[in-house]
């Protein structure tokens, strides 16, 4: 009964679009996350790739996904997200034998730091290695 009520409330909240709070960019604007893929080939070459999408609207959504990945506390789920993204990259580079995915955050300089010439800097948070040697041709 308790579960039925909880399910009912959850359905209503989702249906009405009110399951999330309204604190966008509050209390402060969060860090910006980034994922970089290092593709390794059998001949020793390495290439770097970023997730690619077709339009700017999806770019905004990709940013939400990266926030979600970086803030996910359940490690196996985070690894699964990253693996799926790595697989989508590998599909465009099927001769790559391995992909290292590095999730990190971009530190944006404050106005004063920017005036002093400081640029944005990338800091790695997690790295995952995926082996595609058996799948590559």
């Amino acid at each position: 009964m308790d579960n039925a009520i909880r399910q009912g409330i959850a359905v209503y909240l989702r249906a009405a679009g009110i399951e999330a709070g309204y604190g966008y960019f509050a209390p402060n604007v969060p860090d910006n996350y980034k994922i970089v893929f290092e593709l390794r080939y059998a001949d020793g070459r390495t290439e770097y790739e970023l997730p690619r999408v077709g339009g700017a609207a999806t770019g905004l959504r990709l940013s939400s996904l990266l926030d979600r990945i970086a803030e996910e506390n359940y490690e196996p789920l985070r690894a699964t997200f990253v693996k799926m993204l790595a697989y989508s990259i590998w599909q465009d580079h099927q001769d790559a034998i391995g992909i290292r995915a590095v999730v990190g955050y971009v530190h944006l300089p404050a106005p004063e730091e920017f005036e002093c010439g400081q640029k944005e800097s990338y800091h790695a948070l997690f790295a995952y290695d995926f082996d595609f040697s058996k799948a590559s041709h």
């Binding site: 679009g17 709070g21 959504r61 939400s64 697989y87």
Partner: protein
Amino acid sequence: MLSLHTTLISRKQVTSPMMRLRKLRRKVQRFLFPSEVDHWLTVLRIGLALQILLYCLSLRRDWIQLFASGAHGLIRRDLAEAILSAETVFTPRLGWVVALGNHLGLNEYSILWFAWWCLVCAALCLFAGVLCRSAAVLAWFLHLCTTDSASLFSYGVDNFTSIGLFYLMLAPLPDRWSLDAQIRHLPPKDQRLQGFHRRILQMHMCLIYFFGGIAKSVGVGWWNGTSLWRALTRPPLNVISPDFLIDAKNILPVLGILVCLAETGYPFFIWPTKSRPVWFAFIIGMHVIIGITMGMYLFALIMVVLNTAAFGPGLIGERRLLLKSRLST
């Protein structure tokens, strides 16, 4: 004589709170069920139709990548739906539509494009006001399916579109400017019902801004301009060059405080007739600027639509329109 006096006093004591309760009830009734013409509903219907149309067009090139469950997706749809199922199994999702299509012998690719076309058709019907109720329900259902199935990719715009579509679906459709009403010569819907639906939307907007404003006010960054700087330089929202922003760094704290003030003050200044036009212009201006300077066009549009539907029609002489409408009926 004494006993009569006592009886009168006690009656007065009993009736006075009752009268006050009745007065309060009448006040609440007048607040919740004001007489309204349906212009707000026309704004909501056409605005949401444009929103859905732009949503579909902006995601057209990535539609399969976002919603496919197989090898074509960025994050497989079935994983997002499994996460959703942990919360509730009854929320609409694209998996249901795909399962139904598979049952009819269609493949996932065709079904996803069919859903895209259905959403576009529902938006076009809403825009013209043809089969308003069915189109509103279809648009709400398919939009909810897509946002729930790609919840990992969703952000504020999806919530606000869902809110708008939910109200539209339940609202007293069709409005007088819809083709449904024009062709079938339908009489306007009950004005108190119109008023009630609009009032709920108005109160919801007040809650959204108030809590959004309070949450921002807690952060130091909105008072010293850092949050605005970060929001405007954060990829992919960095439409404006930081070199240009740095020249305007002294006004960033003022703008940050104005954002907090606009949002927190919304429920207090949007109701009084005198301050309403100013606050309305303030909020609409804020969203238009967000849209232009951060590239969040869809977010700006949905906020402009919801605000205009909730508080816009009153700005252009609602009383005159109401009187005219009463005279005509």
